[in-house]
């Protein structure tokens, strides 16, 4: 019985920047100045958030009108345990809120304190964020309406908001296949493991379902840590997180006994001397540091053997 497949946390993030266009630009600029604008369509209805095109006439929407920062809860739910990124980090209500002067409801959070205070028909008001940039999060949240006066909206500024940035952060658990797990566990022991397809007999490193035949590979094959450069590129462009100083070489290396090359670094000679067919060998890190990762091999180095003839690897390009 195999050990369970390996898994590891995978956290990814990207700051999405989006151009706003004429309607959303005015809407977001308005939020920055503590005013809410809705779009008026040909039927006279006021949409908040605004629509860019009239859903009936399909004409671009040009008329934006101000609505009140107060409104009525049309529907709601309650969140006991807020998730990362949500407007509040304590229990709160989600609500669809019809702002006074609008004909469509806006989704946002209501800081009601307790579930018992939420109900359909609840009167709420905007709580503006202290720092505003022209973003939907300029509305920090809504709160039950106290009836207190609002601070004055700021006068129109000269600089409209034209781009909004939204950071997206996602957390996953990445899980390998049973085959990949065996490969990674063998790497932790300093071995390179392949598996042979029962149909075409090709050896895949790392092991995978045979992409040519669509069948699982089963027979384990130990491959050597020596191989042949099939093709390569010289990296001249610096990028975030880069570990080597450009120029350096990333090559496809066909390990002896394998039928599919693996990508790795070539170190030990100037980038402009790396060539197709060059014989290379793995340079392993200190065995004390080995774990279930291909990074146990620091890079490949030239062996000085004669180059392999093109015919020996042309099927693997």
């Amino acid at each position: 019985m195999d050990a369970p497949p390996l898994s590891a946390p995978l956290n990814i993030g990207f700051d999405y920047t989006r151009s706003l266009g004429p309607v959303l630009s005015r809407f977001m600029t308005g939020l920055r100045e503590r005013r809410v604008l809705g779009s008026r369509t040909a039927d006279g209805r006021v949409h908040v958030p605004p629509l860019e095109y009239d859903p009936v006439t399909h004409a671009p929407v040009t008329e934006l009108v101000g609505v009140r920062p107060t409104g009525t809860v049309r529907s709601w739910t309650w969140t006991d345990r807020p998730l990362d990124g949500q407007p509040l980090d304590r229990p709160f209500g989600w609500a669809l809120i019809l702002l006074d002067g609008a004909d469509t409801a806006l989704l946002h959070a209501v800081d009601a304190g307790a579930r018992d205070r939420m109900h359909t028909g609840l009167r709420v008001r905007i709580r503006w964020a202290a720092q505003r940039s022209g973003h939907i999060r300029d509305i920090e949240c809504f709160e039950p309406d106290s009836g207190e006066p609002f601070p004055q909206a700021e006068p129109d500024s000269a600089e409209p908001v034209t781009v909004m940035t939204t950071p997206i952060r996602l957390s996953y658990t990445h899980t390998t296949s049973a085959d990949e797990s065996r490969y990674l566990r063998a790497l932790a022991e300093g071995r390179l493991l392949g598996q042979r397809c029962p149909v075409c007999h090709k050896v895949y490193v790392p092991p995978r379902v045979c992409p040519a035949d669509g069948v699982p590979t089963q027979e384990e094959v130990t491959v050597h840590d020596h191989g042949t450069v099939t093709t390569f590129c010289v990296v001249n462009v610096p990028f975030a997180g880069q570990r080597l100083e450009p120029p350096y070489v990333v090559a496809q290396i066909l390990l002896d006994g394998a039928d599919i090359p693996i990508p790795h670094l070539i170190v030990g000679l100037p980038a402009d001397q790396v060539r197709m067919g060059m014989r290379v060998a793995a340079v392993w890190r200190d065995p004390q540091s080995w774990t279930t990762t291909p990074e146990n091999i620091a890079h490949f180095r030239p062996t000085g053997e004669p180059d392999s003839p093109y015919e020996s690897y042309r099927e693997h390009l």
Binding site: P5, L10, I12, Y16, R18, L20, L24, F27, H47, V48, P49, L51, P55, R74, S75, W76, T77, W78, T79, L83, D84, G85, Q86, P87, W94, A95, L96, L98, T104, A105, L106, L107, H108, A109, R115, T120, H135, I136, R137, M164, T166, I168, L170, S171, Y172, T173, H174, T175, T176, S177, A178, R208, V209, C210, P211, A212, D213, G214, V215, P216
Partner: protein
């Protein structure tokens, strides 16, 4: 030139599990391709067109659908396509491909490891990216807002919602691929705490890993196979994206899709893709399904909801009802987007 007839000739699915398999899904797909093709009596090389539904957001991997092509055995080169939606929409693409005469057979598949991330949070990213997604409203909360509207309007009750859950779980006992099944008392279900008021755990589909594959063939090709369910109509429609832009208690896109697909009045069975109990009740009203129509004999998405294949699995389950002779006319329904925004209806007949 007459329009070719198209039939479902094979279907297979993986068991719905709370956590299963790799993030890539390849190992899950290999056996269900084999089973679906065996049921259809086809070799993989006889498949003219392959089409899949999946999303990279589900497992946080770029080009996961390209990775999944390994499971096909794409040599010699194949004709392949992909939709970033439930595979029911890949099914639609394959159906049109066959109608257009560009393929005689097709295999449609959907897959995904819903458990790789926090699914209800990941699904916030399908919402409007300017005014809604930056607030991260989770999919269960969005569904709860819809349920509240329906409760306030007197269209559904919490008891009727619990009855949907109890019936689904009882039916799922006969479905070996279901994740949740068994006999539950309505009053005990209603005693449970709210997950997202007014939704309780039984109102929400579980998070499921899984996959499904379905084989289509045209005319004579389908007639040669042992079992088939003829497609008499398929259509899909969409409602506005803004959650405040539509009446969330109605599903006009489902009604329009049913009309365009020619949903018959004498339907025997409907497999509805309703990941929340109140959504089944809204869909039954939108599709005009009366009491004599058997709803979700498989237990439905409430008993196993693998993202990107649960909708295709509804079509497959409806087709199996016809292929097995249990129904003469069946409908498969799929939904996509928040709060039943987009809907597809497929009508299947024995003929």
């Amino acid at each position: 030139m007459s329009t070719p007839e198209v039939a479902v000739i094979g279907f297979a699915q993986a068991p719905c599990l709370p956590s299963a398999g790799t993030t890539s899904g390849v190992e899950t797909l290999v056996p269900i391709f084999q089973r679906a093709l065996a049921a259809a009596g086809l070799d993989r090389r006889e498949v003219d067109f392959w089409c899949s539904g999946s999303s990279d957001y589900l497992a946080g991997r770029a080009f996961s659908f390209v990775n999944a092509v390994d499971a096909i055995g794409a040599y010699p080169p194949i004709c392949e396509s992909h939709v970033e939606m439930d595979a029911a929409w890949a099914f639609y693409e394959a159906y049109v491909k066959i109608l257009a005469g560009e393929a005689e057979t097709a295999l449609v598949y959907g897959f995904g490891k819903s458990s790789a991330g926090l699914l209800r949070r990941v699904l916030a990213l399908q919402l409007d990216p300017y005014v809604t997604a930056p607030l991260w409203p989770d999919s269960v909360s969005v569904a709860a807002l819809q349920a509240r509207f329906a409760l306030d309007a007197g269209i559904v009750t919490e008891r009727a919602m619990a009855e949907v859950a109890a019936r689904s779980r009882a039916d799922a006992a006969a479905n070996p691929y279901a994740q949740i099944s068994g006999v539950f008392k309505i009053d005990e279900l209603l005693d449970a705490p709210y997950l997202a008021d007014p939704l309780r755990a039984h109102d929400c589909a579980p998070v499921s890993d899984g996959a499904a594959a379905l084989v289509l063939a045209a005319g004579e090709r389908a007639r040669r196979q042992p079992r088939r369910a003829w497609i008499s109509g398929v259509a899909h429609r969409i409602d506005p994206q803004g959650l405040g832009e539509r009446d969330l208690t109605r599903v006009p896109s489902a009604t329009a899709a049913a009309e365009a697909a020619g949903l018959p009045g004498d339907l025997d069975v409907a497999e509805l893709h309703a990941p929340f109990t109140h959504q089944e009740l809204l869909l039954r009203a939108a599709l005009g399904l009366g009491d004599r129509v058997r709803i979700n004999p498989s237990g439905g998405a409430l008993c196993g909801n693998p993202m990107f294949s649960a909708g295709l699995a509804r079509i497959g389950a409806a087709a199996e009802q016809v292929m097995s002779g249990r129904a003469r006319k069946a409908a498969g329904h799929a939904t996509s987007g928040p709060a039943l925004q987009q809907n597809l209806v497929c009508v299947l007949e024995a003929k």
